[in-house]
Symmetry: C2
Subunit: 208 residues, 2 copies
């Protein structure tokens, strides 16, 4: 991608840090997520993260005030992203079943795209501070609620069998989120196969 050729500065209107610094932050977050996912948050030192981006441990504290804050950024970003990118699909046109199907597909694709971050958010949440955990959970619970609501709407519309919408939402999302545990290395086609199979199972059931 070419840079703009006029003299205008690419002003950073969205935050207080420079673009350069935000690039470094993103680099650190990505490296940290990878290491946390494979070795576990508690077994990874600041020096390990620093080494992965080619700097010294102390330099990380220019970008983050603590190790936990790096974990927080990982968990928050990967929990907020589906809220902002997938939930609008529930407000699109179509029946509840159609809208839910669209969301589930988007969810699985996002799960693959942010696979390591998802693993970290799922497994290392217990290392967040109470406040940070609560903030992450706000997004997670809102997502759950919206999914539950569209399921309930599908039941009212007669598209879905009458079951406890909360249990249905929990089961559905647990089934989907589990994908991050084994999807590593899959192709785009594999991901679509998973989505197709899961939708078939959930909507039509195993019985022919």
């Amino acid at each position: 991608m070419a840079e703009p050729t006029d003299g205008a500065e690419p002003a950073n209107r969205t935050g207080s840090r420079t673009e350069r610094s935000r690039g470094r932050r993103a680099e650190i977050v990505t490296a940290a997520a990878q290491t946390f996912a494979t070795r576990g948050y508690g077994n990874v030192g600041m020096r390990d993260i620093a080494e992965a981006v080619g700097i010294r441990g102390a330099s990380l504290y220019h970008h983050f005030s603590s190790k936990e804050e790096i974990l927080y950024e990982i968990c928050l970003a990967v929990t907020r992203e589906p809220v902002e990118e997938n939930l609008p699909l529930l407000d699109a046109a179509g029946t509840p079943a159609e809208r839910l199907a669209g969301l589930l597909q988007a969810h699985i694709r996002q799960l693959r795209r942010r696979r390591v971050e998802h693993l970290v958010a799922l497994h290392e949440r217990t290392s967040l501070t109470e406040e940070h955990l609560a903030e992450v959970d706000r997004y997670r619970q809102y997502y759950h609620r919206r999914v539950r609501d569209v399921i309930a709407a599908g039941m009212r519309a007669g598209e879905f069998r009458e079951l406890d919408p909360k249990l249905v939402a929990l089961g559905m999302l647990d089934m989907l989120n589990g994908v991050s545990g084994w999807i590593r290395g899959a192709s785009d086609d594999d991901v679509e196969d998973v989505a197709d199979t899961y939708l078939r199972m959930l909507f039509d059931g195993l019985r022919p």
Copy 2:
């Protein structure tokens, strides 16, 4: 429970340790699982575990040679138990669908009974040594394979729709295992509701 009144020693024929020592081991494992589950393996010290059973940190090394060995015992026990207790249901009488349904019910009940240990096994596996992780995974993979096989048998028998049996097994078990994340505090009836709803979803699907 009364002790035996005759002079016979309660010989320990099943292992090299005394009954008293094995009780202590179990006590340590339970306390450790509880702490690991809520605070994360890496954030729990040997002193924390010791305190929970009313002894000093150093005394734990009379029962376990390392902290990781405690984690290993938790993970191994909770992964082996469903293999030994649930898989025989797949060899019982009935059609594949009936046998699978029995297994899924037993799986959810076990998930609740060993809830904290399950959480530890799911979230803290990355802190096991390579050898211990491999040993735990042997059981896990065997369980998966047996579930996949009964699903494939159900498809051959025409009881199940033709889908990729591996994906179906993964989705099913991920959906079930997720239950340990939120079932805390549920009653026996609640657990049966979950099992009923999940079986309905998986076998018949959401569409009426």
